[in-house]
Symmetry: C2
Subunit: 136 residues, 2 copies
DNA sequence: CGGGATCCTACTCGATACTG
DNA sequence: CAGTATCGAGTAGGATCCCG
């Protein structure tokens, strides 16, 4: 039995189905994807590769602060998920190139949307934080 | 503002500016925002509150698996960032209601975009993972 | 009912060193 | 060049107890 507050429930903005009310299956998908792209480097890698195919070291240079280990791990995860392709050229010295897969490219649009929101909303967020902290 | 509307951006892979090449200031914003909404519960809370104002316990029931502690922490963070409002009604027993702020509501659209991508791409991702794991 | 205060574990991530 | 291996610190997050 649900404790129903029938008061004035909003007329159900069709956003409702985003993360819940979608019966687990989709909830898991969202959670799972968020665990991947929500980590520290994945989105940066996606964003960088959106500019074109790059080698390991180039990638590392484009993403300040990323360690060798984390870049490797991130790339492996993305490769496993089929979002990034890894091409090894049989040469010396070795050359490995990373690129977005077609699936990976479809992630760019929503990522850009989120990034844009972040950039646009950041001043408001910072202001809110300052106000919140000052109020204590 | 619609998602994916590119306004007056350079046609140069125009995704390029997402996370890098934007001179730190924006990179910090993206990273900072991602650290918040990329955590385990924030997006779930946003998505749930998108359906309308809710009390603490209702929120907890709508989000399976969230602990009291984490729900509290998540809500505090979102409140501090000005994305969620907290209203305490002076009654016994106490009644506290949470809702999205106007700023918080602007996050719904990009979040839905990302969630939709997750749901649509999940079959492909799972397949890719299975193939990747099988190949080793 | 809606939390705050503690304790504890598991995992993330960074630094460093080594390799084909 | 493009990794792998190992170690250690920090922290996210769960469980539990208590309180107004």
């Amino acid at each position: 039995m649900e404790i129903g507050d029938d008061e004035d429930r909003e007329p159900r903005t069709d956003y409702e189905g985003m993360c819940h009310g979608v019966r687990d299956e989709d909830g898991r998908a969202v959670r799972d994807v968020l665990d991947r792209i929500g980590d520290k480097w994945s989105l940066l890698v996606i964003g960088t590769l959106a500019g074109g195919r790059l080698r390991f070291t180039e990638l590392q240079r484009h993403i300040p602060g990323v360690s060798q280990r984390m870049l490797t791990l991130t790339l492996r995860h993305l490769e496993r998920d089929g979002l990034v392709s890894r091409t090894v050229h049989a040469e010396v010295p070795p050359r490995v190139e990373y690129d977005l897969t077609p699936t990976g490219r479809t992630l760019i649009a929503p990522s850009v949307a989120l990034a844009s929101w972040a950039i646009e909303s950041y001043p408001a967020i910072e202001a809110s934080r300052a106000a919140y902290d000052a109020a204590r």
